[in-house]
Symmetry: C2
Amino acid sequence: MAPVVGRYLGPMFGGIETGGTKTVCAVGIDGAIEQRTQFPTGDDPVALAERCAQFFAGKSVQAIGIGTFGPCDPDPGSPHYGHILATPKPGWSGVDLLGMLAPRLGVPLAMTTDVTAAALGEQRYGAGRGMSNLVYLTIGTGVGGGAVVDGRILHGATHPEMGHTRIPVLAQGGVCPYHGDCFEGLASGPAMATREGRSGPEISDDDPAWDLEAEIVAAGLHAITCMLSPQCIIVGGGVGSRGGDHVHRADPTDVARRPDHALPSEAGHLVADLAERPGDRL
Amino acid sequence: MAPVVGRYLGPMFGGIETGGTKTVCAVGIDGAIEQRTQFPTGDDPVALAERCAQFFAGKSVQAIGIGTFGPCDPDPGSPHYGHILATPKPGWSGVDLLGMLAPRLGVPLAMTTDVTAAALGEQRYGAGRGMSNLVYLTIGTGVGGGAVVDGRILHGATHPEMGHTRIPVLAQGGVCPYHGDCFEGLASGPAMATREGRSGPEISDDDPAWDLEAEIVAAGLHAITCMLSPQCIIVGGGVGSRGGDHVHRADPTDVARRPDHALPSEAGHLVADLAERPGDRL
């Protein structure tokens, strides 16, 4: 029998994104996706872990990285590493997600928040290649951000909650149940829909509603820039990638009204390379 | 001749803080100051470098760390590492501070912003010992912050400008020449003096003016917490350390109106251990 001749491309790694609505599993080599699947996250963590295990069965991955909806405990040194913390999402408060996945997957796992995983992904394989300091920001149903600092992901005591930063109030009727008019309360898809009295798909890409949205986004980008001084902010999410590049109209220096030295001129914002950009997610 | 008998305590290191008004030079062993001096920073960088050299002459320091007023370039990989950037301070725009000091001091030097140096100092020897993620915030003539992330200082593209983060407007008449009502524009000593129509020394530690100041500070602490998730925020500066512990009245969760999971309950703020706290600096 002739030997099987193949080309070794490098080690295969796996990824899991557990989102608020759907979960995506994928395997890939050097950042290129070879195979992927998705299914509803649902309200039964055990069933979700089983579905993930089915996908990875027989695939020779070296390790799997997990990006999850939050809040979660992403600290490998914590006894609650990999747990979902208190969440309004039914069935998920306090769930030991990593503990459920580990015995079923049988390879080394690492877990962080979905946006932190996206920040790392964009830095390694996407719009942030070659940069060591960047922020990934998603603007969609919610607003959230993850950061890479000096090439390493930022967790801090738990993890950032950038979407809940309070910004100057540029519009009325913020929808965050906690703060009303925080960044998420003003910039998210539901906020925009409530403000405009129209659902996302009804707002066309050249609608003037994007002007105010761009101003609000700029305020958020300015706050991120003041706090973290990233080389760039990569914007994804259903809203963040819509509106005829409204993100590119969002200029933090407009909001800053401050000379370049406080907002380095080389800093900018980019649209995510890797994130999905479904126009219907607004 | 009998040999000199001494006890070797460890290597001696030096420190220089070039502030907007005064410059401090010190030497110490393992964080304990052995000797220090101070003089006006002035508007002649060469004269300043000479005075620093005089202090360190004959002192056997292994290396010297420099914390400077900003904006500056703290990136060791940059061709402008150690330069002061555009500043309204007379005589200092574009000055190569590190380049002036290096030949005069003759030992390895490292430079960062004053607040970043303070963050590192508090983490190694002060109120932040044992923590790997913290922010040092000074509230005085200006407002500025420096961060330690995973035990390492955060610079990003240039360095944070936390004082210029815009926060919810809780008072009228912010004094920042760039933003009016940013954190510095609302919380600094000049802001408070302008708002109250009285100079700092005229405002006693139990004055009701501190209630509004505490609320503004809480908004700033909340923004820092959302962005960086520090284990603690250490507050120093002439205003930050006054007002009958008004800092301890500043509770970011008040401003947050959000369950603990977004603002970790173990996070708190502390008064700086190492910073001077002159009551007359307000």
